[in-house]
Every structure is written in C-alpha cells, then in structure tokens.
Symmetry: C2
Subunit: 521 residues, 2 copies
C-alpha cells in the first residue's frame, strides 16, 4: 500500500544534500517517513528520489478514510479483522509491529489528522464531515445519544467543576507519572520472533510492568475509541518496519513513548480511566488479559462519552455554546499553523546546523591551521607565538564546528519534540470540534423532530441540557489544554534559551581563549 | 575587450542567490569583477548569467602577456601609446579611469599574477618564463646587467645590512605613513568631465596633496617598472567603469588605496624612493610635473635595480643562493595556496552570514512571535507572562538576524581584505623569483661565456658578486615580508577574534535577557 503525498509548496533542493526539488500540486510516492529530522523520503513521477521537508507535503494513503476516527466500533472490528483478534493466546503477533495494513491505518490516521496545509488551514478532516457522515449514523444514532440518560454507575461519571478559569475537569489529588526504562529485546518461538519490551513504573504503585509497542498501540486504540470524540488522544510515535532493533531507534522510540505516556498521565480523565489504570497497574498476565477483554466490551465509547459529563454549573444557552465552539476552532487552527511554521523553520535550521554550517566552521579552522603550518615552514625566527596562536585559533573553529553540529540535539530537539507533540494534539481537535458542531446542528433540528413526532418536548429540553454538557466538556478540555500549553511552552522555551545561551557563551569563551594567544607588541 | 575566465573547479549554485553553476574547464565571459564580496559576475556559453566565487575562476584577458611585467621599458611605451602620453597638458584624460585597453592591461597583470590554481600551485607566470624570454633579452642584456658596476651616485644605493634575522634593508629612522581622506568630485571642461580627487596627508610633512586614481595608477606603473624585479609591488584596487561616483564605491576604493599606500609607506626601499616622495610631497603643479618627467626618464629600472644593491656581508656561494631561492619559492607558493583557501572559505562564509543564516534567524523569531500572537488570542487568563516572553524571544532572534547579517562587515571584512592584500603581494613573487632563477642560470653559463670570449675571468668573478647581491636583495625582501606578515596576521587575527568574541557574547547576553522572562512556577 504505497503512501502518496501531495506537494503543498514548491521546494528547491539544496545541492549535495540528497534533497529533491518538487513543485506545488505534484503527487509523490512516499518511500520512508522515518528518516527523521522532519524529512520524508519520496520518489517523483519521473523516478527521481530524495528528501523533502514533511511540512511541504500532505501525505495521504490509499483508501482508509478519515471516518474511521469517528466510527470507533467499526474501526475496532476492522482492526480486529486485520490484526488477529484473539491475541490472548499464542496466536499473538510476534513482532514488535503489527500487520502492515494496520500500520497503514495508524499512519493514515495520524497523517490525515495533519492534513491541513500549514498557512492555509484547510484542515481537511473537519471539512470532510457532512451531517450524513456524522458519527451517530453508525453506532448509536444522534437521537439516542442526545436523549441518553447518565449511566447508573456514578463512578464512571465525569464531573466538570467551575474553576477560576471556567469549567475544569476534576483533577486527582496526587499526580500520576510513569517512567519508561530498560528496553529489552525479548524473543518468542525459540528465538524466531523478537520484540522490544519496555519497563513502565507508575509513580502511584512504584511497581514496574512490562509492555511492548503493540500494547501501547492497543492502549492508544482503546483511548481513541473511548475518548476520541471529547479529548485529544495524540498519536503514538510512528511504527517502523526496518531498523527497529537499532539502539538509536529504540532510544528515540522510548523517548517518544515516554512523552506520550507522561501527557496521558497528566490528563485527569484519561489517567483515571479503567483502561489506563489497567495498563499501568496490572499484577499478572491473567489480570491483564481479563482487563483487556473487559475493556474491549466497554460500550461507553465514542460520542457516548458525553453521557458521562456532569457539569456543576447552569445549563448554557445555545448561542453561547456555538460561540465557544467557534472560538476554540479558531484558536486550535491558528495554533496548528503556528506550530507547523515553527516546526518547518526548526527543521530547516536543524539541517543547516548539522550540515553546511559546521562544515564551514571546520573549513575556517582548517584554513587557519594550514596557514599556520605554512608560516611554520618560513624558517623566520620568532614565528612560534604566531603559529601556535593560529593553530589554536584553527583548532578552536574546528571545535566550534563540533559544538555547532551537536547543538540541535541539545536545544532544537526538545523544541521540535514538544511542538510535534502539540501538532499531534492539535490534529485531534478538528474531530472534537466537528462532533460538537454536528451535535449543535442536530439540536437546532429539534423543533422539526418534535413536529415529526420523533421526540417530544421534554426530549427537546433534555437535548439542550445534553449539548450544554458537551460544551462544558469542550471547555474543560480547552482549559486543560491551555494550562498545559502555558506550562509546556514556558518550559520548552526556557530549556531552548538556556541551551542557546550556553552555546553562544561557550563559543565566546573559547574564542576569547584563542584571542589571548595573539600579540602585537 | 571582453575578459574571459576559465573555471578551475566545479561550482554548484545555491538556488535563489543569483549564482551560476559552472563546470571545471568551462570558459566564461566576465561581466563584472566589481560586484564585491569575492564574487564575479559571468555569462556562460549558453547565455546564462550569475555569480561565481572568484577563487573558482582564472580570469584572463586577450593578448597582453605576462612578459610585460618583465619588460618594463616596453610596457612603459605601450602604456604611453595607449594612454595619451602627454598628460601634463590639457590633453589629459578627464575621467577617473584610463582608457579601457590600459585598464585591461592592468587587470590582466593582476589576474595573470594570480594564475596559479589554488591547491595546485602551477603559478602560471613563472612557468611561462623561458630563458629565451628572460627580461634581459629586451632592455639591457644579462651580460650588461651582471657585469654592470654600481652607479656613481651613492645616494641611490640600496644597502643590505645583517640584522638578527639575516639580511635586512636599511630602515628609515622614523616611519612614514599617509592618511587618505576627503574624496571630492571635481570636474573639468566646464563640468563635462568629472573625477574623484583624494587628499593624501603624509606623516612626514603633514601637508596634504591631492591625487586622482589615475595618479595612483601612474605611481603604481613607475614602482612596478623600477622595483618589480626585486620587490613585490601589489596591484592597485581594480578600475571600475560604472558606478564609480557612488558613495559606497568611493568609500571602498579609498579604503583600498589607503591599505595600498600604507603598505608602500612601510617599505623601506619604496617609501624612500624619489618617485614615492614626489607623489607624497610635491609642493605645486610645476614641481609635480617636472618630477613626473624626470621619473619617467629614470634608467635604473627593471633588473638594473640590482646594480644598486650593496650588501655589507660576504659574498654568498652559488649553492646557497640557489637554495634560498628555492626555499622562498616554496614558501610563497604554499602561502599563496593558504591565503586563497582562507579567502574562498571566508567568501563562502560571508555569503552564508549575509544570506541564508539571518533569514533563518528572522524566521525563527517570526515563528516565536506568531505563536505568541496566537496564544494571546486564547482568552485564557494569566497568559500575558508567556506571551510577553515569547514576543521578546521572537524579537531577540530578529535582532540576532540583523547582528548576524552585519557581522561579516565587522570581522570577516578585515580578514578578507588583509588576505586579499597578501594575495596581491604573493602574486608578485613568482616574477621576482623567476628573475633570480634566470640570473642564476646565466651565471652557471659563465664558464661557457668565458670560453666564447664574451666575458673574461674577472667578469665572471664580478657576475658571482652580482648574483650574490641579488640573493641578498631577495633575502632582505623576504625578511621584510616575514616581519610584516607576522605583525599583520597577529593583528588581523586579533581583530577578527575580538569581533567574533563580541558577536557571540552579545548574542549570549541578548538570549540571557530573553530567557529571564520565562517562568515555570
């Protein structure tokens, strides 16, 4: 299933860098999305291959449409179909990765969510939704959801409180975190099949549990199924077919899984859900498998999650609900554009800092050292002070070349990772907002539904209350998002600037030392 | 007379920078050598135009061969022929530049001297010399020179003393310098013809004199004629046909003329010569014109300069002379390579620092500011600290962009200027060394000349003494070159590194200030 990509903007290759010049509108074949550094390896229609920055492309795979996101039950069955559903037993896939078709779904899901061209904000996915394709058309119908009563089990309810900033989730008294460490290569079937197992230690129990990437993927699917209509469940790090046992890859994947888990741990709704708790605290294989089965039977998934919302504040009027929805839509679109811009700039800068720039510093250094060597051959007396100083200056620039090349790993890395994470989070909002908008439209139809005898007046009132709940949920989630965002961006900017200060200061100090060796008496 | 250029190395154009990709061995037409920054504007055979770094090209004009340098009398007459020799009167050329053909000679001279491809050191000019073309074949014959007696007028003699470092010139008690300032646009013929006049104030008289570029060119021709066989007379800044009244060009030319004059002032032989003193200290138009006429009649020019050398130390043996010559040849070739390498690297770095790099910093800054604007639209309370800090960080990177773009003018400029000056100086050595080698060969023939009855045994002894004088002259000049070089490179490296330290320190300080605005409570 060859992934295709549309070129969003003209891109001119820098020569000698294995890049490929492409033109807006061109269709490319994706060869690899895992080359790293924000680059995608592609082939154009005339067979030329090379790298293009991911921000210049909109990758879209064959036929699994965006709808799967909104049709969790359906997806779930597709997944099961493809994935060998009975994975409790030894029929379990023995690789670290799942069947490639499923991998395609996963990749597609993530990429499709990124469909909006940065700068143009078409936000493809939300555009594709029509009321006909509204999630309720499969699974529970909109009437069923909008008329549904809260479940009897109050333990499952999701209260929304009024905080200083407006509606907020109920935050747990103590925060949960989890440390992922100690990746081990394990094997099955007498060594025929190998996979990587990570050790997860939650801060609550302090008892480690082991998981493979495919378990994370299972967790992701469950969370997406259950909460995807209300909360952004960011995509997992990409699957990878080749090189997945290489040390660098394992380190990088673990870092990504750690970031993903930490973000999930920070979410008050996700972190307290049964499935998430099961994942982090199961005691033995039996408990894990029983928990899995139970979770997969959970029916409060998809838009049904809104039946659990329990706001403490008064019902909102329809106009206010619509206005909030519009405002969040605007904000998340703009932030998505901003994040993409920063990622594009950052990736370009990364490439310069690891490519041409250190090469140039190295050449400057070598030029100084060479000249120093020439001077040294002059046989003119009293030359040593100069030649020593010039050699030292040359070596300093060669050291600077190394520092420059290593720097992005120290500062840009974290800046880009955080923004990539936010890109993933933001890619979920179009759906959440689309679900909300679709429900708003349904409620607007309430009068007609009453006339048609489909619902009665009480039902209509109840629908108004339900849509108000949805809006509280959206507001609580946006407030959660905002407070996390403010913390995360303060932190990432601090780390970035700290490292940048150290970088420039270090170079200034090195050059000062080199300078001190020269003398004009 | 379209200048042509041979491509020495493959050069790949960076897109969007008005560069032209060229291939080794290609022949190009030179459109402009005065675009600055080490770039030459060219047109290739298929009509495409663009910039190529000067280090990648060997520029060569039509037919005036390198020999002119070694045939000063001949050149002088060519020059006069083309230049309207009677420039005392009103027939003088009224432009700041001379006839283009003469300009071509000048350009050719400089470029030809640079003919050696860096890294390969063929040093074209010295290769082109055969004994048949030895300078003495026109003008005084080698026998005449090698047998010539010192002139009666001891005031003209050039003593060589033994200093701590070996043979040295006689240095004047007080050093001469001259300040060039106050360029004024003057006109003649009721405003029909315009030119720029510079004011030169020598430190000795402190009395300003005025000169136009064409006077500098006259001085250069005289110095080359008189001393070119023994001392490097570096080329003047290039002539320019268009834009020569523009402020930037005038400032740049004045800076180059200043550097050239300062170097000539520092030379003990040049600075004390009649022609140089005339140029700097003439009292009125009459004295200037009389001095010019007298200078142009001077017969102690070309290789005859060696008749003036008066070493205080013992006669050198032939083997030692040859060895010194070889050593200097080696050194100047290697240094020429080293200087070219540094110039190439420096020009490339200049372009990066003024082109893509600040653009990238600007984009980083803008990305931060944009994200800050988006955050500002969140309506989430307590966002101001972050958005203010991110705006400040963005502005800081935009300021850094400006600093980066201005930096080369502050540090690389002087480094490149100094190395360009040395490239000019080094381009003269192949001639000086070739003259020396040719004389050595002639002396080796002395036995045959005695047999042939062309010279007697005393003559042969005298020839040995003369070649020893030449070697002392070369050594004195090399020692002068070395001591200047050590001073100059110490100084230029100091200035470069000082500015680099300031640059990096300034950025570190700015980023530190930006960092202090972020907070994670």
């Amino acid at each position: 299933m060859a992934l295709k990509a549309q070129v969003l903007y003209n891109f001119t290759a820098e020569p000698g860098n294995n890049e490929l010049s492409v033109r807006e509108g061109e269709t490319l074949t994706v060869l690899s999305q895992t080359v790293g550094g924000g680059w995608i390896e592609v082939q154009d229609s005339s067979g030329r291959t090379g790298l293009v920055p991911e921000g210049y492309l909109q990758v879209s795979s064959a036929e699994i449409s965006f709808n799967v996101l909104l049709e969790p039950v359906h997806v779930s069955s597709v997944t099961e179909l493809l994935q060998d559903s009975v994975d409790d037993e030894d029929g379990e896939w023995d690789d670290d990765w799942d069947d490639q078709s499923v991998g395609g779904y996963h990749g597609n899901n993530q990429v499709d969510g990124e469909g909006g061209a940065s700068g143009q904000s078409t936000h493809g996915p939300s555009m594709k939704i029509s009321l006909n394709k509204f999630p309720f058309s499969k699974g529970p119908s909109p009437e069923v959801f909008l008329l549904a009563k809260p479940p009897a089990d109050s333990r499952d309810r999701l209260p929304v409180y009024m905080g200083e900033v407006g509606p907020v989730w109920l935050y747990p008294a103590s925060s949960l975190d989890c440390v992922i460490a100690d990746p081990k290569k394990e094997s099955k079937l007498y060594g025929l099949k190998s996979y990587i197992e990570y050790q997860l230690t939650p801060s609550t129990t302090n008892r480690p549990v082991n998981h493979r990437y495919k378990h994370f993927d299972w967790l992701y699917e469950r969370l997406l199924e259950k909460f995807g209509s209300a909360l952004p469940i960011p995509p997992l790090p990409d699957k990878q077919v080749t090189g997945r046992f290489e040390e660098d890859f394992i380190r990088m994947r673990m870092e990504h899984l750690q970031a993903w888990m930490s973000r999930m741990c920070r979410h008050p709704v996700v972190s307290q859900s049964d499935v998430f708790q099961l994942f982090l605290t199961y005691r033995d294989e039996k408990e894990w498998k029983a928990g899995k089965r139970k979770t997969e039977r959970d029916e409060a998934v998809g838009p049904m999650i809104f039946t659990l919302i329990e706001p403490e504040a008064a019902e909102l009027d329809a106009a206010q609900v619509e206005q909030r929805c519009e405002q969040y839509s605007q904000f998340t679109k703009s932030m998505d554009d901003g994040v993409r811009e920063l990622l594009n700039v950052g990736h370009a800068h990364w490439k310069r800092c690891t490519g041409p720039l250190p090469k140039e510093y190295k050449r400057i250094g070598r030029a100084f050292r060479n000249l120093s060597n020439v001077f040294n051959s002059s046989k003119y007396p009293g030359e040593e002070t100069l030649t020593d100083a010039m050699t030292a200056a040359g070596e300093t620039y060669e050291e600077i070349a190394v520092i420059v090349a290593q720097q992005p790993q120290k500062d840009l890395h974290f800046l880009l990772e955080t923004n990539s994470e936010y890109k993933g989070l933001l890619s979920c909002f179009p759906e959440i907002i689309a679900v909300h908008k679709a429900a708003v439209e349904k409620v607007k139809e309430a009068d007609r539904l009453v006339s048609a005898g489909k619902i009665n007046n009480n039902d209509r009132k109840w629908m108004n209350q339900r849509i108000s709940c949805m809006s509280y949920s959206l507001q609580a989630e946006m407030n959660h998002f905002h407070s996390n965002r403010i913390y995360d961006y303060n932190r990432v900017m601090q780390l970035y600037l700290e490292q940048q200060v150290t970088f420039y200061q270090q170079i200034a100090d090195k050059l000062r030392a080199a300078l001190s060796q020269f003398t004009t008496l």
